[in-house]
């Protein structure tokens, strides 16, 4: 990936200063100089045609059309052909990736279901003052019964109960049970309903129930995002969750922290391996390469479960340590079902993603540079640190981005070996997708995770520069 800053058609000085600003250039990278020369040559050509060409007389092609037009037509055709070639991929990505993800993310704010199911009630609730502490009047109860009878008919009321139960515990059964009884009422003739509803369930005489419905009847809500950062939506605005329910921010922090630790340990373990691979004769390097790739061909679950056998207290590592007398039998090490377990297993699983880009970058580093440095009196360390290491940085960058972003979204390995302290935010997202069915909250968590990754990527670009990332 070469540097691709826009080359402005301006004076040389500008471009040169930009060139200087880019820091070290690796030897083999396509440098901006090529582009610069091309641009300069083009400039010069334009200049000469402007000064010496026949003004007003367009150059004509063989068929008599102006050269410029026929050229642009040919180019357009080329562009169309290129577009047609990438069209299958583009359409595939659009339909299988961008649209589904977009619609999933939209769920994090979408909340029209409440108003769709209880249209009359929501309209009436607009006139009711949630702060007054008084129950709504008969008109609202009548509207509610009308809505409920229709909802029971369409079997939507239990769904609504599930939705509102995320916000106030108990509403799920309230709607289910009320639905059974309310369908016997006729909204036209059976009024007044206030007494009757409170008779069906006393919770309809609780101001809090109506406040919850009112608060969550907006079409576009920030409620899920507030929940995702341990807050909740109330009539008075955003309020922090009670202490004993706060967990998500902690999990976000832990996910970031542990991903960093995993990335760092991958760098530390992967760098020497990549160096050996790059410097061995290709025959033995290929053999070793197979060992690096071998884990790729084994199922993720098998690898994770193997770590369980290795690390548990009655496992292989502890048994060996006890047998060697290093660890007493009654104080075996706890290596799994905690953060350590997650870090060990995930470092192992993600290591190839670090080694491969490092290896391909290191292969391109000329050994002559090191020899030259040494011949001029550099010690081994200086030669490595001042000459070799800076050239291998793009590989570290590429590997780090891969490993970090992969680990931030990891789910199955932390679930199996993470115990309680080694799980990630993805485990919560999975819970809300498959168990609690609170897809709105899951989408909000996912959106935040995506935003965090993009911000980190942007910060990485600002600090290190994304052009310093190379896959080979």
């Amino acid at each position: 990936m070469g540097r691709q800053r826009p080359i402005r058609n301006s004076s040389d000085g500008d471009i040169m200063s930009e060139l200087k600003g880019t820091g070290q250039q690796t030897a083999d990278a396509p440098t901006p100089e090529d582009a610069f020369h091309e641009a300069a040559a083009l400039n010069a050509r334009e200049e000469t045609s402007k000064s010496s060409g026949r003004h007003g007389d367009p150059v004509l092609a063989a068929d008599g059309t102006p050269l410029k037009r026929s050229l642009s037509r040919a180019l357009r055709r080329q562009k169309l052909r290129a577009l047609a070639l990438i069209a299958p991929l583009l359409i595939f990505v659009l339909f299988s990736f961008i649209i589904p993800i977009g619609s999933m993310l939209f769920r994090s704010v979408e909340n029209s279901f409440v108003e769709q199911t209880l249209p009359l009630t929501v309209a009436e609730l607009k006139n009711w003052d949630a702060e007054s502490g008084e129950l709504p009047d008969e008109a609202l109860y009548r509207a509610f019964v009308t809505d409920m009878v229709a909802a029971v008919e369409a079997k939507e009321h239990t769904k609504l109960g599930t939705r509102l139960n995320y916000e106030q515990t108990g509403l799920s059964s309230l709607f289910r049970q009320t639905g059974r009884k309310v369908k016997r009422l006729d909204p036209e003739t059976d009024g007044p309903f206030k007494e009757k509803l409170i008779d069906i369930d006393e919770d309809w005489g609780d101001v809090q129930t109506w406040r919850t419905i009112k608060t969550h009847s907006v079409k576009i809500t920030n409620g899920y995002f507030l929940n995702a950062v341990d807050m909740r939506r109330t009539p008075e605005g955003a309020v922090a969750q009670p202490e004993n329910k706060r967990i998500l921010i902690k999990l976000f922090m832990r996910t970031l922290f542990m991903s960093l630790v995993i990335t760092t340990s991958c760098i530390l373990l992967g760098y020497p391996v990549a160096w050996i691979l790059a410097n061995l004769p290709s025959r033995s390097a290929n053999m070793l390469m197979i060992l690096v790739l071998l884990p790729f061909w084994t199922s993720l679950l098998v690898r994770t479960s193997a770590w369980k056998v290795m690390l548990q207290q009655q496992g292989v590592i502890n048994d060996v340590l006890v047998w060697l007398g290093i660890v007493p039998d009654d104080a075996r090490l706890v290596l799994i079902n905690n953060q350590l377990g997650t870090i060990i297993a995930m470092t192992h699983i993600l290591l190839p993603f670090m080694i491969l880009p490092m290896y391909s970058v290191m292969q391109t580093i000329q050994p002559t540079y090191l020899r030259a440095a040494k011949s001029m009196g550099a010690t081994n360390w200086t030669a490595f640190w001042r000459v070799y290491f800076p050239q291998s940085v793009p590989g570290i960058g590429a590997g780090s981005i891969l490993v970090f972003i992969l680990s931030i979204g990891y789910y199955i390995t932390p679930e199996i070996v993470g115990g309680t302290k080694g799980v990630f935010i993805s485990n919560r997202i999975a819970y809300h997708i498959s168990s609690s069915l609170n897809w709105g909250l899951a989408a909000a968590l996912g959106t935040i995770l995506l935003a965090v990754v993009l911000i980190l990527y942007w910060a990485y670009d600002k600090i290190v520069g994304i052009d310093n990332v190379k896959l080979g």
Partner: protein, 363 residues
Amino acid sequence: MKPTKLLIASSVLALAAGAVAAEDMTIVSWGGAYSKSQQKAYHEPYTAKTGINIINDDSSNEAVAKLRAMNEAGNVTWDVVDVVAADAMRLCDEGLAMEIDPDTQLAPAPDGTPASEDFGDLLVSDCFIPQIVYSTTFGYRTDLVGDTPPDDICDVFDLEAYPGKRALEKRPINNMEWALLCDGVAKADVYDVLETPEGQDQALAKLDTIKDSVVWWSAGADTPQLLADGEVVMGSTYNGRLFSLIVEQKQPVAMLWDAQVFDLDGWIIPAGLSEERKKRALDYIYFATDTQRLADQAQYISYGPARHSSAPLVGKHAELGIDMAPHMPTDPANATNTFLYNYEFWADYRDDIDAKFQAWLAQ
């Protein structure tokens, strides 16, 4: 030569049969020994009777989310789905499962008792056709508990008498109830106490006393593995898993039936099937949940049949030839002190208590 010919012949036959019958039916279940028992007791006889080919899909643990996604996409590919009762209730609430009338759509007992009476209280949701009663209970290592094996649920919380790790499920359901029971709350009051924030704190405080000695599991196979490796002294899991660990794999493990929590597993038919597929699914359900079929399943796995009329028909294990009745959670000797999963309560409190439970776990 011969095998090849046979192969070709049989595939041609299969193709021909496929072209004639062309009826496939996708049934979703839990996989493993459980699906095997259904294959033997239900699927094979049904295929023999009707010629309909049954495709097994082991997706039950994510059935609710997948069914919701299929329903939104307007393309439900499953015909019959095996889920636990709590999930069936949620699917029914969400309008994702079809309502069933037990008396017209399910087989009556051999003596003519209508299905609604034969299943009785176990019909916990309008969409749910119960199949088995299973229980979540404890197993312990007989060689690691000394001379006085545990016989009380509160022994799980007794670290002095039974030191070592315990395996508990990584969710509040069941654990909160057991904690309250062992903290002096009467069995009848457990859910009243658990409704209050103070009661929830009380249960978590009790669990806190053993928190450092707990290995939390999330898959049913975890506890058997942990017990077999001697990684834990005792652990909770589904009774059928412990049965296979003890009887089939002959591990030094025994059952602690005290305060076992009964739960139900059964079928639902997804909403939104075409008339033809719905008819076929109902026909399968009618066949597979009759008295004899439910009793047959108990030959392969130690879960109790959900019909009253099936209980006397439970016989011996199909391969081991041992009597199955003593291994059933519903056997009187095992069921002296039991607990029934409270579906209404957990439908309401699941999200709230789970958030607190997870926050407590992460501390």
